[in-house]
């Protein structure tokens, strides 16, 4: 009986201890990965954490001021590649500017030569994602 109780307590505490850890999203690790695959000639500008909280959060959004005549590159990294993470950029009027999801494919990065200065929204959503967790890096070149 004592052994049974011990096993029960071990499992109970084990589950309590392990479950939150499994649900945690280590975005920093993914931004490091993305940084390593930043396209040659681009200088790092910003990193973005993408934590979909295991699917509870369907959208993660940031904004940034992009300048015309500047070329930007944004990539996405998740478990085993893009992991169903869609990055979509909208202008300040919420009109589509760029996406990494087209023709039924996920692209790991977008090159965006900006032609119009303004505030842009960078939105991360999920499609058939396994982990709802990733990172993204924005770089620029002139």
């Amino acid at each position: 009986m004592k052994n049974l109780l011990f096993v029960f307590l071990f499992l109970a505490f084990g589950l309590v201890a392990v479950s939150p850890a499994q649900a945690q999203c280590n975005s920093d690790g993914f931004t490091d990965t993305c940084l390593g695959s930043l396209k040659d000639g681009f200088t790092f500008l910003k990193s973005f954490k993408i934590d979909g909280q295991g699917g509870a959060k369907q959208k993660v959004e940031y904004s940034y001021v992009f300048s015309k005549d500047t070329k930007y590159y944004i990539n996405v990294c998740g478990q085993n590649g893009v992991d169903g993470i869609i990055v979509t950029m909208y202008d300040s009027n919420r009109k589509l500017v760029a996406t990494n999801h087209a023709n039924g494919k996920f692209y790991p990065g977008i090159t965006y030569p900006c032609n119009a200065t303004g505030i842009y929204y960078i939105t991360f959503t999920f499609k058939d994602s396994e982990n709802y967790c990733g990172g993204s890096v924005l770089g620029f070149s002139r």
Binding site: T43, V65, K68, N93, P108, P113, C114, N115, T117
Partner: protein
């Protein structure tokens, strides 16, 4: 050294230490400073605005790209740190020195860069955020790392830590001042260059574009203008500059973009355009108002 310093720039020279800083001794001091009450706006909103403002580094890159010569007379005197006694002066000049450091470093003026690093260390310690600024670590990174982007990422993370720390201590007004100082100095340098190169349309457009950034800076200052009297005064000092920028015409036209796959990557053809209309008179006004504000905060 150059790469190291570049790593510090976009975030106004925040620290490079991976270890958690010892903040225990500083908490009491921050508690005592909490009389600057937080504004009636969520920290997430403030954080969102701060994060969307571009790095002054972009402007410094532009200047060098355009063949503009280095001129340290445009910069703040690195020895002026002893003039800055209040938190307001320290924070805004820390932002200014951060941009100066970026400028000197992009032009590979290492001796000047060292002077600005020293100024930054002094002011950051004066603001009790020196614990995030680890010169030993900076030197280690400088000698061991050949990857600029890694350094930039490290400093981004540290910037976020410091920002979170200041917000937690209800001192986010310091973050706003750092950012304002950094932006003001970049505008100051750009307008000074434009004064002697009036035909440089790229530079003039870049100045006009600052209207968008100023809108964000104004928003941030507005959040604190009543709770922090110094920011209130600064906000008033900004008014003529805001009026000058209001006369800059900004025409944005959206056209649907084209997207194509190139070597497995998505490449966008941006068909949208912006046209910036700015007369020589407005340009001169922006320059003179910028110099006035900047002279006031650096004296």
């Amino acid at each position: 050294m150059r790469k190291l310093i570049l790593g510090l720039l976009p975030f106004m020279f925040w620290a490079c230490s991976d270890k958690k800083p010892n903040t225990e001794n500083l908490d009491a001091e921050f508690e005592a400073q909490q009389e600057t009450s937080a504004p009636e706006v969520s920290q997430d909103v403030i954080e969102g605005i701060i994060q969307q403002i571009p790095s002054p580094l972009e402007i410094s890159f532009l200047l060098k790209d355009q063949g503009v010569k280095y001129n340290n007379e445009f910069l703040n005197d690195p020895k002026a740190t002893s003039n800055y006694n209040s938190d307001f002066q320290k924070a805004i000049n820390l932002g200014i020195y951060g941009t100066d450091l970026g400028y000197t470093n992009i032009y590979e003026q290492n001796q000047d860069a060292i002077y600005y690093l020293q100024s930054i260390q002094k002011l950051s310690e004066g603001l009790n955020i020196g614990q995030f600024f680890n010169f030993k670590e900076i030197k280690r990174l400088a000698t061991n790392s050949s990857n600029l982007d890694s350094l930039l990422l490290t400093t981004t993370k540290n910037f976020n830590s410091i920002n979170a720390y200041l917000q937690q201590k209800k001192r986010a007004n310091l973050s706003v001042l750092l950012l304002t100082g950094g932006w003001l100095e970049a505008l100051h340098i750009t307008t000074k260059v434009a004064e002697s190169d009036v035909s440089n349309q790229g530079l003039i457009d870049k100045i006009g574009e600052q209207k968008i950034i100023l809108d964000q800076v104004k928003l941030l200052l507005d959040f604190y203008k009543t709770s922090d009297p110094n920011i209130g005064q600064l906000r008033k000092d900004f008014e003529p500059l805001i009026e000058a920028f209001n006369q800059v015409e900004f025409i944005y036209t959206y056209h649907e973009p084209e997207m194509k796959e190139v070597d497995g990557e998505m490449v966008i053809i941006d068909n949208s355009t912006t046209e910036i209309k700015i007369t020589p008179e407005i340009l001169a006004k922006i320059g003179s108002e910028t110099q006035k504000i900047r002279a006031n905060v650096t004296k």
